[in-house]
């Protein structure tokens, strides 16, 4: 078991990294605190499974991806029953983004929201996070072939979406 002090050190060091992956996968800020907390609580409980201290970052990324997928599925289900609307503002963009860029970020997320959750996650990890196919396969606990298949499907769907707009 790790101490509260060790959790604090781990959290201060890695929470910005977890939050960055989290916000890009979720596409909104209002669920981010909950996601980051869930990730570190799961990390705390599973700390004994960690084989090497060097693997902390990739291990946290794996937990973040798994937790984000769960949240995205829940959100999709809620939106299916019209309980949740898409985010309407561009709070996501950094301070340097122009109003046009902010609007474009929102419209891009609207397109991504329509992708199946696993395709969306793979697409974001590849094109936004810049992860390799091997790393994505490890994070999503699937084969590299599956990652490639999901990526191709996401790209095709996004092309269709773009042509529609």
């Amino acid at each position: 078991m790790v101490s509260a002090e060790e959790i604090g050190d781990l959290f201060r060091r890695y929470s910005p990294y977890v939050a960055t992956i989290g916000i890009r996968l979720l596409g909104r800020d209002d669920e981010l605190d909950d996601l980051v907390q869930e990730v570190f609580i799961e990390a705390y409980r599973g700390f004994h499974q960690l084989r090497s201290p060097d693997a902390v970052k990739s291990w946290l990324a794996r937990i973040t991806v798994r937790r984000a997928i769960r949240r995205l599925r829940r959100r999709r289900l809620r939106s299916f029953f019209s309980l949740e609307a898409l985010p309407s503002d561009a709070k996501l963009a950094d301070g340097g983004a122009t109003p046009e860029e902010k609007a474009e970020i929102v419209s891009s997320y609207r397109m991504i929201e329509r992708l199946p959750v696993r395709q969306r996650v793979v697409w974001v990890l590849k094109h936004v996070e810049g992860e390799t196919l091997d790393a994505i396969a490890e994070m999503c606990r699937c084969s590299k072939t599956t990652v490639q298949r999901r990526l191709r499907a996401a790209e095709r769907a996004l092309e269709v979406e773009k042509e529609r707009h």
């Binding site: 989290g22 890009r24 996501l92 094109h127």
Partner: protein, 65 residues
């Protein structure tokens, strides 16, 4: 980034890569405290629950006599 340049989604991907959470020191500490509370939570809750059960048992025993 492998196979990145020249892909059709490159502009969208670059835009989304600009997304950064507003994760400052205040937010870090707030979340860390929430995590520590959640980790301590069940124990505190269990203690309160056990205290309540003990009090109920005591009251039951007293009234039975």
């Amino acid at each position: 980034m492998e196979d990145f340049e020249g892909e059709p989604d490159v502009r969208v991907a670059r835009l989304l890569a600009r997304i950064r959470p507003r994760w400052d020191a205040v937010r870090t500490e707030r979340n860390l405290n929430a995590i520590l509370d959640r980790l301590r939570g069940p124990k505190r809750w269990r203690r309160a629950w056990n205290a309540m059960l003990a009090a109920t048992r005591m009251r039951y025993r007293t009234s039975a006599r």
